[in-house]
Each structure stands twice: as structure tokens, then as C-alpha cells.
Amino acid sequence: MTAFSAIHEEHESNQEEFTPGVEPQPTWCPGCGDFAVLKALKGAMPAVGRSPEEVLLVTGIGCSGKLSSYFESYGYHSIHGRSLPIARAAKLANPGLEVVAAGGDGDGYGIGGNHFMHTARENHDMTYIVFNNEIFGLTKGQTSPTSPKGHKSKTQPSGSAKDPVRPLTLSLASGASYVARTAATNPRQAQEILVEAIEHDGFAHIDFLTQCPTWNKDAKEYVPYTDIQQSDEYDFDVTDRREAADMMYEAETKLHEGEVLTGRFYQDSDRPSYGQEKRSTGEMPQEPLAERYYDEDVEWERAADELIARHT
């Protein structure tokens, strides 16, 4: 008996289920890359056999953060930069949930950078999608941590003096066990990568290049992409950390030169997820913690029995 019968139920789900029936119209601008993320996620969930009520989608604040408004599932539209700590705790509380976190490049690599680093390090079993449009969309077009050097904006009128963040390199250095980049212009690949990421047992990070036609017309993500797995030019072992690091560095550098390299950059399927680690040290119960509150058979431990004796 489970109190959460949506979880792991036999169920043929389909894309429509993940579209809100009575929905708010997406308020994204026409041509916004964010639509592509929504579509890819709607396609990926049925492909991995999950139904809306076993998915928890936690988003940050930004145009990207509105994803949870337009995707039908349990949703938590949180605060700027904090989707990861909320999401990872939900996963610890109920490992049966399919937990996805999502937000923008400002949200994830700017204000939320520390959580990104530490969540990757801990290898929580979840998927993290960063809508990388190299701009602050929702606040109307300021320089973001991924904006290329020299990028002009209202707050950086003479052009940014900062080298952009290297999200893939940083992800690997932090400890993510699955790292990929895809692009809104590449819907088929995007959905495939999302499927892999969701199925991956560990922290899967997807840097999702999304164009922002409203504030970042010149961004290089508009140009055609190259799939590094498909291209003959790039031959590297996605499970080899060093080769992956080189490939990432190259992709990050080339992005601002106008060449968009996408695909899988790193995958380590052997590293145990944080939940596994914690269960193995006895720091986490074997059964989903959330179930405990609905299980009449649980004997609730009492301080009086377990702990008072040491004070007498």
C-alpha cells in the first residue's frame, strides 16, 4: 500500500497529459526559445513512462521559471536561484518522485551558482535544465553570467568586461555525473537528451541554449548547431573525464565564435547517487520517508524512550 499511488503506476502517458487543460497562455514572446524546452519536456516524460502526478517540477524565477506554469505536473515555482535545494530535498523526502529543476542562466549560474556547484558535487538523483539565453530575460535584458564579453546592455552600456561563465566545465569540475548541451533549434536532440538525463541515476545537467529574440537578438545560438556525437570532426569518449573536459572547453569557446556544438559531453554511470550513498551509511531510511506519515503500522520513536535516559 502506498499513499502515493501515482508513483510507478503502470500507465501509458502521452504528451497531451503534460499540457494544462485549462491553461494560462504562455506569456513568452513569439519566437522565444523557451517554448522548445517545454515541448521537449512534454515529449520526454511519456518516453520515460512517467505520468504528471509523479513528477515534481521545481523552477526558479525568470522567463524560464514560468515553465512550471505551462507544464502539467506537481510544480513548485520558487524564488530566484533556489530551485536546486528545494528540489533535492523533495527527492530525499520521496525518492519515488521524478524530480526536475529548471531555471535561467542568471538563476542557475548567477545567483544560484553555489547551489549548482554543491548539488552537482553531491550527485543528487535529479535533472537540472538551465535555459541558457545569455541574458536576463524577465527583467528586460541585462547582461547575464553567460553573456559574451563585450555584450552591451542597459546595465553594461560599454559592453561587459567579464569573461562569461563556462557552464559545462564548471558542471564537470563540480561533480555532475551527466552533462549535456542542447539547443531550442534542435528539438529532436533536445528530447533525446532529456530522456537520457531523466533516466540517469545522479545529477544530470543540461545547458539548454534558448534564444531570446526580444532582448538578445545577436546571440550566437541562432546559428545552426553541430551535434558532437554525429559529427566526424569530434571524436571523444563521453565517459572519460579528461576528454570530456577538453570537448567542453572547446564547445564553450566556439559558442561565442559562432559555432554551436551540442550533444552529450560527459556521463558517469558508475558514481552512486547521493541517495544511494546516504542509504548505504544508514543516514537515510530505505523506504520513502514521505510514506511514513501515511503508514499506520509505523511505530513512532519517542524521545522519552530513546534519549531521556542519558539525562538522568
Binding site: A6, S68, A90, L92, A93, G96, G282, Y293, E301
Partner: protein
């Protein structure tokens, strides 16, 4: 026997085992049938700093550490370094002796370890003059040699306990028993030998003092508990099975207790990257169905401001602890203060919608922590326990059967899948988690993974199923609904059999003393003394800060001519809150404030009362008086 029972202070370097020594000392006296109370001084350094612990013991309930102390066991700081570098801090090694001269009562006892502090050194810092002036009884004893003879140097604290037992008449069997319980055989043996040798040595001495431990007997078995223990145990009993945090003094104590025991209670503890994450994790776990908590002190709690507001808006239940210390900023991190009241009530943008309790003592800490979980989970809001270094760290005996309670596995206002099937949904099957017409303002929630419970939780203002909304009409309905919860909780608190506010003294007294949180029992002790001296005074200790107990405090203030408001901060925050909430009575209230990092002693409150309400002069000391408003 002097009036106050034994007030024993053991001082030494913070590596000298002061902590365990004093804890065992207190426990032994408790087992011997006495009421005990400990106070620990924390220097803001790790080791080698001078520190002390006090143990007060008497045959009746102990409400505070009292005024000063009457027995000093000065071990001297055996970790002190740089003896040449006295310019700034003085001689660290001798501080455990001479820094205590100020507070030792008339007629008190000093035992010091001549193995560390020579008699010449003691003279040099003025021991003799002080002793003569104050009629102290001084016993220089080479504790180190005794320890060395029967065990090892470090057992000189045990030797000190043996000497104490002999001087004030405690049966050493209680100590021996404890030593055997906590130490392995050989070490226990050496300690016991040391204890006995020291005891015998001291019995031989020529004793001129009149301090003696009284007889006492408890009705039932007692436990020696700290406020932090009580809060942690209450959380476990309340069904909390998730904590996330980041260390910070003094919150670390409760966090550590939880972390050590949660795995055995089937729960999860997470030490994370910072306090923003800590609060956010607690929300995530709670949203996913687990009763969760987090907490911090001062600056760490400041970092929780934004997630705290998110909990209010998304109506995610959570319990947060805030363990105050002297501010602003890093301030005096190991010192007590009550200056975070307004901060905790109002931090985070927008109108506050949270429950805040400030327990007045260890039992209240247990009770109110359990209440915090109940209200948080029944009403879907953050509930905060605000306490301080003093309450968190002090230990008192509490009857063991006080803890004999039912655990609370109730997840609060949550629906089962069967109930969800019957609940209100929108046309497309989304659950109306935030329905407008909720009873008492609360909609029982669904939990991710449940069938039929899909909704969006958002920090934006939202419609019934959670979609972001900006319509003014929806806004007003949702705000009113959320705020209604506080009114309902207030009514619920007022209706209960017992109030969280604690009264002391004759109901018809002419004067009042109002206080909040950890100063309560000290105030009560002061009231007893004032009464004994003929003052007509009563006191009220307030714990409910939000929603504020308007009726109770109004009645109290209406019933007195004048009222002294006692609190540990510089801007009279609780008095301000009271004026804010009641809109009057300013002219009836005078503040007695202290913000030097040390809690009030009951004698200071007695003096403060006399100086203000009874119109005598300034009480002296580090206190400040703020006269009545509108005068």
C-alpha cells in the same frame, strides 16, 4: 546554610574539562535530590581560553543562576600560552582565579589549584585583600599533585570535585556512580581514587565557612536537560523527520542533537552549503510530505529571510529555530541577547504571516516546539521558535515523566488520495489547493505523488489551482484568506486550557513586571524576592509573539498601576511590540534593559524595580532605563 543554597563555579582553561566536570557535578546533585541549574560561560575561542560553568543547587525549584555565586573552584588555565604577552589580555593562566573576584558573594569559598597557580601568584593578583574584605574562606590545594598521585594530571578537576564535596557536605557516592557510568574501568578507577583522596584531604582541613549543601528529595526521577535538548526532543516527538542546517552558535546545539539522532529515528539530517539552502531544503522536504525544520542564529537566519517569505506565500509548512546571540552582525557570538525580536517577526518582504513563540523555560521550550509543528502543519505557515544562548545552553532538572508523551505522526492539513478524489478541481482536473472559500483560511493540501492532487505552488500571488494571478479581486481574497489563519490561531490559543503566557505573583498586585522569553523565570525569582521585601508586584512572561496575546496582556496592564518591562536589548523591542499591538499603555510602562551580553540576575531586576517603580535611584550595573512613553 546560606539562603541561596550552593552556587558553585568551576573555572579554568577551555581545554580543562570544565564542561564534563560541571555536568557530572550537576547530575550528581540532582540524583542526590536537589534542584539544579547550570550556567555556562562561552568565550569566543576554541581552546585555551578562560571559561567557567556555574551550578546552582537547592532543595526547592531553581529559577535562575541567581546573583553571583558562593563557591569558586579555580583550576587555573593549564592551556594558557604566551605568558609574556600580558599587555592586552592580562595573564590568561591566572584569570580563572582573579576574574571571579567581582561576583563571589560575601562569605564565599575559594578553592584553587596550587599545582597551576602558586600561592605567590595568587597573592600578586590581590587574593588576600579581596578575601579579607569579603570574608572569603580560601583553600589553596595542590589538586594537580593529588591527581598525579592517583591518576593523571588532567584529573585535577575530579580532585576539585572531591574537595568541594568535603567542604560543603556532599556524599561522594553520587560522583562515584557517575564516574563508573561514563568512563571505562581503569580510568574510572583512577578518577574515583583521586576523588576520594581529595575528599579526605579536604576533610582534614580547618573549615571556617558556613556553606553547606541542603537536603532535598524529588517526587520522581529527574532529567538534566538544556533548552536545546528540549527543543530537539520536542521536534522528534512532534514527528519531525527532516532537518537541514548550517552550523552557527548557538543554534548548532539543537542542530547537532537532531543530526545525531534523526537517523535512528528513521529521519534525515542535511548539513548544506549555506542557510539559504538550509531553509530551502526544509521547504522542499515539507512540500514532499515530511515534517521538516531548519534554523539558525543571527546572520544565518538573515539569510533565510527570502525562503521564509516563500513559505508564507506558498503556504509550505515549516518550523524554524532562531537562537539569538548578541548582535548586530557577528556581535558577541557566544553571549546572550534578545535583540532579534523585531527581526524575526518582520524579516522578509510583505506583510508577515507566521507564528512566533518565545518559550520562557525548558519545559515551555518543549511544549511550544510541539505547538509550532502543530500550527505549521495544520495551518500551512512557518512557525518560529525564538530563543537565545541562555535558554539553549542552561541546564535544569525536569521530571522524567514530563516527557512521557505521545508522538505526533499527524502530517496536519493533508488530504488522502480518497479525499482528493472528492476535492475541488478546475475543469482540467487541477486540484484547488488554494481555494478561495477555505475554512479558517486553510485548504488541506495534496502531496506530490498523490493521484488527483496536481497543483502549482508559487511565490507569486496565485489563483485557486496555483496559477500566477494579478487580478486585484483574487489578490484581496487570497491575502485575507492567508491572514485569517493568524486570527484563527489566536482564537485557538486563547481557547486552550492553558495559556503560553505564564503568570506569577498575586493577581491583585499593584505593580507588574512584563517580560518575554528566557528572562521569565529570572523575573519570577525577582518577584518572589520583592514580595518577601514587601513590594506588591506580579509578573507576566509572554511567549506568543505572533499572533500577539492582545487580550491577556491588555488585562494584565489594565490591572496594574505601573509596569516594568524587562528585556535583554537596547531598544525595548518587546515593549515597543506591546505598544504597537495595544495602541496604548505607553505611559504605564517603564523599560529595564540590559545588553552587555549577560542575562539579568534576579537581584538586578529587584534593584531595577526599586529604582524605577519605587522611584529610587539608578540601579547601577550595565542596565538602562527607558521611561514611560508620553510622560
Amino acid at each position: 546554610m546560606t539562603q541561596g543554597g550552593l552556587k558553585w563555579r568551576v573555572s579554568g582553561g577551555s581545554g580543562d574539562g570544565i564542561d564534563s566536570t560541571s555536568q557530572n557535578f550537576a547530575k550528581a546533585l540532582m540524583r542526590a535530590g536537589l534542584h539544579v541549574f547550570t550556567h555556562r560561560h562561552y568565550p569566543s575561542r576554541i581552546r585555551g581560553g578562560h571559561t567557567y560553568v556555574e551550578v546552582r543547587a537547592q532543595s526547592t525549584e531553581v529559577r535562575s543562576r541567581g546573583d553571583g555565586f558562593n563557591f569558586l573552584l579555580a583550576l587555573g588555565d593549564s592551556f594558557a600560552r604566551n605568558p609574556d604577552d600580558e599587555a592586552y589580555y592580562g595573564d590568561e593562566k591566572l584569570k580563572p582565579l582573579y576574574e571571579h573576584f567581582d561576583d563571589l558573594n560575601e562569605g564565599g569559598i575559594i578553592v584553587y589549584d596550587t599545582g597551576v597557580i602558586s600561592e605567590e601568584e595568587a597573592q600578586a593578583v590581590g587574593l588576600d585583600e579581596h578575601a579579607e574584605e569579603n570574608n572569603w574562606h580560601v583553600y589553596p590545594i595542590d589538586l594537580r599533585s593529588i591527581a598525579r598521585e592517583y591518576g593523571r594530571d588532567v584529573m585535577r578537576n575530579t580532585a576539585g570535585v572531591g574537595v568541594t564535596a568535603a567542604l560543603v557536605g556532599i556524599d561522594t557516592s553520587y560522583f562515584e556512580e557517575l564516574i563508573q557510568e561514563v568512563m571505562p574501568g581503569e580510568m574510572a578507577e583512577a578518577n574515583i581514587k583521586t576523588l576520594q583522596a581529595a575528599y579526605e584531604h579536604a576533610q582534614e582541613l580547618d573549615q571556617g565557612h558556613d556553606i553547606e549543601v541542603p537536603e532535598g528529595e524529588h517526587d520522581g526521577e529527574q532529567a538534566l536537560m538544556s533548552g536545546s535538548d528540549a527543543i530537539a526532543y520536542a521536534s522528534l516527538d512532534a514527528g519531525c523527520r527532516f532537518i537541514s542546517g548550517y552550523p552557527m552558535t548557538p543554534w548548532t546545539s539543537a542542530f547537532t542533537v537532531m543530526s545525531q539522532h534523526l537517523p535512528n529515528f528513521g529521519g534525515i539530517s542535511e548539513q548544506v552549503e549555506d542557510e539559504i539552502a538550509a531553509a530551502a531544503l526544509a521547504l522542499g522536504a515539507s512540500h514532499a510530505g515530511v515534517k521538516s525544520m531548519s534554523g539558525s542564529s543571527g546572520g544565518g537566519f538573515a539569510l533565510m529571510s527570502e525562503p521564509l517569505g516563500l513559505a508564507e506565500m506558498t503556504e509550505t509548512p515549516v518550523v524554524l529555530l532562531e537562537a539569538m546571540r548578541a548582535g548586530p552582525s557577528t556581535g558577541m557570538p557566544t553571549k546572550s541577547e534578545q535583540a532579534d525580536l523585531e527581526f524575526v517577526l518582520y524579516t522578509s518582504q510583505g506583510d508577515s504571516c507566521r507564528v512566533v513563540f518565545a518559550p520562557g523555560n525548558i519545559q515551555e521550550a518543549y511544549e511550544q516546539t510541539r505547538q509550532a509543528f502543530e500550527y505549521a502543519y495544520d495551518y500551512h505557515l512557518p512557525a518560529i521558535i525564538v530563543y537565545d544562548q541562555k535558554l539553549g545552553g542552561e541546564m535544569r532538572n525536569v521530571p522524567v515523566d514530563f516527557f512521557d508523551r505521545e508522538p505526533d505522526p499527524d502530517p496536519g492539513a493533508v488530504l488522502t488520495e480518497d479525499e482528493l478524489a472528492e476535492a475541488a478541481h478546475d475543469a482540467a482536473g487541477k486540484f484547488k489547493r488554494y481555494a478561495h472559500d477555505a475554512e479558517d483560511g486553510v485548504n488541506p493540501r495534496s502531496v506530490p505523488g498523490q493521484k488527483g492532487g496536481r497543483f502549482l505552488a508559487t511565490g507569486n500571488e496565485s489563483m485557486e489551482v496555483g496559477h500566477i494571478a494579478e487580478s486585484p479581486e483574487n489578490r484581496v481574497i487570497q491575502m485575507d484568506r492567508r491572514m485569517e489563519k493568524l486570527d484563527v490561531i489566536r482564537a485557538d490559543l486563547d481557547e486552550g486550557d492553558s495559556s503560553n503566557q505564564t503568570y506569577h505573583g498575586p493577581a491583585d498586585a499593584e505593580y507588574g513586571i512584563l517580560t518575554w522569553g528566557s528572562q521569565q523565570d529570572t523575573v519570577f525569582e525577582a518577584v518572589d524576592r520583592l514580595e518577601a521585601r514587601g513590594s506588591d508586584v506580579k509578573a507576566l512572561g509572554v511567549s506568543d509573539l505572533m499572533p500577539y496575546p492582545e487580550d491577556e496582556v491588555r488585562s494584565f496592564l489594565e490591572s496594574v498601576e505601573e509596569c516594568l518591562v524587562v528585556e535583554m536589548n537596547a531598544t525595548a523591542q518587546f515593549r515597543g511590540l506591546t505598544q504597537k499591538e495595544l495602541g496604548q499603555f505607553g505611559p504605564r510602562m517603564t523599560s529595564l534593559l540590559k545588553y552587555d551580553g549577560e542575562p539579568f540576575e534576579p537581584g538586578e531586576i529587584v534593584d531595577g524595580f526599586e529604582a524605577t517603580i519605587e522611584d529610587q535611584e539608578h540601579p547601577g550595573g550595565n542596565m538602562k532605563i527607558v521611561p514611560a512613553a508620553g510622560d
